[in-house]
Symmetry: C2
């Protein structure tokens, strides 16, 4: 090449490592960094370092937090008899945005995927089981994505949790609200049909 | 909100400032930073700072470079009788990728846009004119985007450069190679027709 300065080339490479950021976007971003003021570039670099050094996992739910225990786990207003199990921290945000759920969460930081060598020990399963001792928790909601790995993980967890006498549920599957029958795939339609509810 | 740790929120905000990076992508990127090792996050932050502090504009063509004069301007292999004028540093990369052009470049760092108060003094016009003294340069190619601002800037520069006895050209406009007549807009088709070439 020779026509792109090396530090710029390196920055493009760093940005390209992000999933969902293609070569074109990475290049565009790098050039935007170049056109920032020194102060703006500094702020961006510090935000990256700050997020990385100041945030760690909540001791209880494993979600990202600055404190030892996250605001949700330490809130007195949340219903601590229900735990919603999700794959990743971002999923917590998605649920919170609905403003409908008032229980606690548990972040697995991954899904079981035995074919690729990801077993229960690689995700936060034992941290979840540790929270189920005593009789505070009445229900555990499996809220993983309805994929092969998500279903497998939900089944595995349900098998461990049910014997403890705790209700184990999972998110409903069916037609998306506002969706169109024509555009729904067969598996979803099958599920919508077999899980039909009385009016 | 309250459910996203503050440093993470700030990082999402920083990423959202990039053009072409929406709220969703910014969030995804911030969470990816979280799942990096300390070393990886450090490398990313340093790449940003490094690109910003170690790169500046070439004294001659105004493209980004680490040196005083960029590798293209200082290369003995390039034809220094032709200068291709582009809007931004990224455009130089685009031309270099074709491997067809062997002349020099000049980066304007913007286009004239009088309505929004961007005049010739705000972009690198005087640096271009300074390069045209003497009789080394035989041709200046206007290679701005074919937009209103691009055309206006090209016209303005041509008016300044022609009296110096230097050939002033611009990129051809017409059908995109491999394109389809059906999907070409009227202006492009009009241009393709009026600029038609003999076979």
């Amino acid at each position: 090449m020779g026509y792109t300065a090396a530090p710029l080339e390196r920055l493009i490479e760093e940005f390209s490592k992000f999933k969902g950021i293609g070569a074109k976007n990475a290049t565009r971003m790098a050039y935007q960094v170049m056109s920032m003021t020194d102060e703006e570039a500094q702020k961006l670099a510090e935000a990256i370092q700050g997020a990385h050094t100041r945030i760690h996992r909540c001791r209880i739910c494993q979600n990202y937090t600055e404190a030892d225990v996250c605001p949700i786990c330490s809130s007195a207003k949340r219903d601590d008899s229900v735990i919603c199990v999700v794959e990743k921290p971002r999923d917590v945000q998605v649920f919170e945005r609905t403003r409908e759920y008032n229980g606690l969460y548990h972040v697995l930081h991954g899904l079981m995927d035995p074919i690729n060598g990801v077993t229960a020990e690689h995700i936060c399963v034992k941290e979840l089981l540790a929270r189920l001792h005593g009789d505070k928790v009445k229900e555990v909601i499996m809220a993983m994505n309805p994929t092969v790995e998500g279903e497998a993980t939900a089944m595995y967890l349900a098998k461990l949790i049910k014997p403890l006498g705790i209700k184990t549920t999972r998110l409903a599957q069916g037609l998306p609200v506002g969706g169109n029958l024509e555009y729904v795939d067969e598996n979803t339609l099958y599920r919508a049909l077999s899980d039909r509810a009385e009016l």
